[in-house]
Structures are given as structure tokens and as C-alpha cells.
Amino acid sequence: MPLPSRNSPDSAKRQRALAFKTHVEPELPVLFRVALTLTGSPADAEDLVQETVIRAFRALDRFDGRHPRAWLLTILRNTNMNMHRRQRPDLVEDWDAMGDPRPAFGAERLVSAEETVLDDILTEDLEAAVNSLDNRFRTVLLLVDVDRLTYAEAAEALGVPVGTVMSRLGRARDRVRAHLRAHTSSFGRTP
């Protein structure tokens, strides 16, 4: 939705505020999940998103109305750095707070018998595997596979190139699979 010109009367001001709300409102759950991954605490995540929304509104004149999620993720990342919050994704306090993802790996599909056996992954094994990762790898894995960001959105949230997201994601998944293979009886073994 294009934003009205800055030099228009009061009605345009209201329209701009309304356009801002239209852009930001649907992104609040995503921003909250990403903030939770970056800060590791629901309270800090809420503070971070509040501050992000305020800063985004102040920066509205520099927003062209395209790709609001990418724009907001960039502001969230900069805000997080400016707030000097701890960035310890390994200390997510409440995994249950991270919900409403897009479907895993895209399309829904039928699950084979072999995969049903592989699905027998205990939550504690998975947590241990993810927590054993280095911060850089863990954060990318959480942003893409739990928060369901695209590669490009994760790159915006972290301020790194897409290629870096892809390589870190690949290594993170390989390491988690290796960990699960070593610690979960059914994972990696055909029935």
C-alpha cells in the first residue's frame, strides 16, 4: 500500500497513520517470535517489539511502503543492538511462547512409515541438540525452522547476507541430526 505524501494536509496524516497500522499489525506476532529468539526472554521480547514499533513510526517517512516485514526486521535488529540487550538465543525461557509457524518445509504431505518412526524424537533430546549448537548456528535454525522466517527475512533480522544464513542453517541442521542420531534410538535408523 503506497504511503501518502508527507506534505499533504491533516487528512493525509491520518491516512499515513492508518497505512502504518495496516502494515505493522499483521507483523506483530512474527516480530514477537523473532524478538523472543533474539532476546531469549518474553519480557525483553515485548519491550523490544514496543520500541521497534515506536522507532518504525518515527522512521515512517523513509519507508516506501514495500516489504514491511523486511523493513520492520531491520529496525528490530538495530533496536536490539541499540538497547544493548543480551543476545542469548540459547536461553529462550519459554519455548511454548513461540507459536503459530508456517508449515514445516513448505507443503503438507503424507508421512511415510519410516518417517513416522523418525518422528519419535523426544523434546528433551531435541532441546539438548539445539542447545549444543554455537549461538550463530542456533539463532539461524530458530529463526528459520521455529519462527518460520524465509532465508531473506532471517538475513534481515541478523544483518548478514542470505548466503551466510544458508550455510549456517545447513551446518546447524547437520549437527542437530548428528546429535539426534547419536542420542535418539529411532532417529536415522530405518524400521
Partner: protein, 92 residues
């Protein structure tokens, strides 16, 4: 000998693309020719199809992790209220 070496090279090539194939991310889609080659290999290679099954199982497990409960509705409500306040003040 040559056949097994060729299979090994294809396994290595496939291993580097399975994640992207399953993600189907708009930023980095595989080329149609790559998809065709990968799917042909997965149809005949037990090792690589096993790796693919592991990837899918891991993805579902991580997805379940985040689906266990709805997001904190009270926090989301406060964020919506903040947004309402900012836009109401900014629109005046």
C-alpha cells in the same frame, strides 16, 4: 568402480541441496534441472533418501515445538494497544 564413484559424487552433490529442496525458499530455489537430478537420485539412493527423511523429521519436530501453545495473547494485546496509541497520536 566408475558407477560407485559416480554415485558417491552425486550423493555429495545431493547432500548440499536437500535442505534447499525441502525448504523451497523463494530466496534460493533450486533450478528445475537440479530438482530433476536430485529427485532421480533420491529415488534410487537409500542413504540420501534416509537423510531426506531425517531432515523432514527434524523439521516437523521443530515445528511441533513452536505449535505447543498459542503466542502469549496478553503480550500481543499490549503490543496492539501500543500500535493503536501511536497511530492515534500520530494521525492527529
Amino acid at each position: 568402480m566408475i558407477t560407485s564413484l559416480r554415485r558417491m559424487v552425486t550423493c555429495h552433490w545431493s547432500a548440499r541441496r536437500i535442505g534447499r529442496y525441502l525448504d523451497n525458499d523463494p530466496t534460493a530455489p533450486l533450478a528445475p534441472a537440479e530438482v530433476k537430478r536430485l529427485e532421480s537420485h533420491l529415488a534410487v539412493c537409500e542413504k540420501c533418501s534416509g537423510v531426506t527423511a531425517e531432515h523432514r523429521a527434524l523439521s516437523r519436530a521443530l515445528s511441533r515445538w513452536s505449535q505447543q501453545r498459542l503466542p502469549d495473547q496478553a503480550a500481543l494485546a499490549r503490543l496492539h494497544a501500543t500500535l493503536d496509541r501511536i497511530t492515534a497520536q500520530g494521525g492527529q
